[in-house]
Symmetry: C2
Subunit: 306 residues, 2 copies
């Protein structure tokens, strides 16, 4: 049974309107509170630790699996180990958000350890939203560690979003791409107050004709701090592209370190990064249309993080 | 007295044709073998260690000072400490190359520790070429560590070139820019065989309206390895731009890590980097004009590193 607070949080982290129509596992305060599977997608508890194995049979097409995690009013560190095994020639969507509501708690922490295996020729879309809320002063912490293998001809499109309320977010990812594998990561991060966000992403272009693209857009406000370390290793004939854009406001700090390393003469690696404030001509234009400075800022930031 | 081998090496590292017409100090095998000063540029040996203090009086205009270092046929580590103090409102050129000729030696190492103070309103052009040659198999190593203060309204243009023969090159630089200070670094590096090159450059945009630009172009051939770490810290209203382009060939490895860090909302930082091989259409075009593949490659690399 899903409570109304749980429901509200779930809508924040999974806005697909399909949460319960497909295979799903809803984890709340460390327990599975709702689960369903399909003919080709099974979900089983891990035997040795907390978490689930999501096994998707080969040739599963146009299905989605939703594994949201919510934590409500608890002083806990909820650590979960999830494994996704996507069989050959599938085409699926995985939605894996996490939401914290901790009005009375001091410190609520979610630790997500994910493994994703995308077998030969499979196409996966992966969405992960982090959201937290509370009325009082309390720590809401997210730590995720994700390792991903994309086998030959496989493809993965990831959307990683941390929009609101996360005091301390650490993202650690390592992704190996084999022959002809393809990866696109789109990251959106917003921090304010004294929040901190860190991303550490390593992409290994192991196979021939592997290609990867990262597009990261972030906004840092107030005293918040962001640190991004992206490493793209071209170990074979391959293509890699990293693009990071950040807007800073007030006393925020953004450090952006996109590293390229090529050890093959047929690797083509490119990155671009920019850190700056909101363009004043855009602000002026919106203000001349009748918006206050704050409204104009908000509109520009919304567009930037869209 | 300058020998003919010394003369040949000097021409490689200082092609200005002005080496002896201005103030200069030629250091060969750890000893000063030729020195002259001018009315406003003095050169004195350091009392506590090997090296010189170059003191440029305020308002010194259109003068140059040349401080080449050569090492011939010696198994040594020649460590030199040089300090350059450029008085206010000057406009000078510093040429500080280093050349090693070590036909019979096993291992020849140059360690250059430089401090450069550019006082208020001064304009400095700094050229540094590293060159090494030998007929046998021997180690030719360069390690430089440079710290630079550019006071308000000061400007520095650096050209750093490592074109040939350096087996192991390590460059370490830290530069502080104060109000309205300006910096342009142009770096050119070529490595082949099993050579290694590392650059570690930190630029601190401390003052208001400071601006810095790094343009790095490198070519890595054969089994050679290059690693670049550029850090641009925007600590005030300022602008920073890093641009790194590398061509890799055969089994070379290039790692390029240009980091940006902004802790002020009025800092504007940008970087771009690309690693790839020679464009095949350029090769084809030159080969269609009658050049062999090797000649065509050579022509493209020359143009790229110009």
């Amino acid at each position: 049974m899903v409570s109304s607070v749980e429901q509200k949080i779930l809508e924040k982290i999974d806005d697909t309107n399909e949460l319960k129509s497909g295979a799903h596992n809803i984890r709340s305060n460390g327990e599975s509170i709702s689960r369903s599977t399909s003919r080709t997608i099974s979900i089983k508890n891990k035997e040795d630790k907390s978490g689930i194995d999501v096994i998707i049979q080969p040739n599963t097409k146009n299905q989605s699996v939703h594994v949201p995690v919510v934590i409500l009013n608890q002083d806990i560190t909820d650590t979960v180990y999830n494994t996704f095994d996507v069989g050959e020639n599938s085409d699926v969507t995985i939605v894996a958000g996490c939401g914290i509501h901790n009005c009375n708690a001091q410190k609520t922490e979610h630790v997500g350890i994910h493994e994703i295996f995308i077998h030969k020729g499979s196409k996966v879309k992966y969405l992960e939203k982090h959201y937290a809320e509370s009325t009082g002063k309390s720590q809401k912490i997210f730590n995720t560690k994700t390792t991903i293998e994309i086998e030959e001809e496989g493809s993965l499109e990831m959307e990683l979003v941390q929009i609101k309320g996360v005091d301390d977010g650490n993202k650690d990812m390592e992704i190996n791409l084999h022959n002809n594998a393809r990866l696109i990561i789109t990251e959106r991060i917003f921090t304010e107050l004294e929040q901190e966000a860190k991303s550490n992403v390593t992409i290994n272009l192991v196979g021939e004709d592997a290609s990867a693209q990262i597009v990261s857009r972030t906004v840092a406000k107030d005293e918040s701090k962001q640190k991004f370390y992206f490493m793209m290793n071209g170990k074979n004939k391959s293509r890699g592209h990293i693009e990071c854009d950040s807007i800073i406001m007030s006393n925020a700090t953004v450090t952006s370190i996109p590293a390229l390393s090529a050890s093959c003469e047929d690797a083509e690696l490119i990155h671009e990064a920019a850190i700056g404030k909101i363009a004043s001509d855009q602000l002026m234009k919106l203000m001349s249309l009748g918006l206050t400075e704050e409204e104009a800022q908000e509109t520009i930031l919304q567009g930037f993080l869209k």
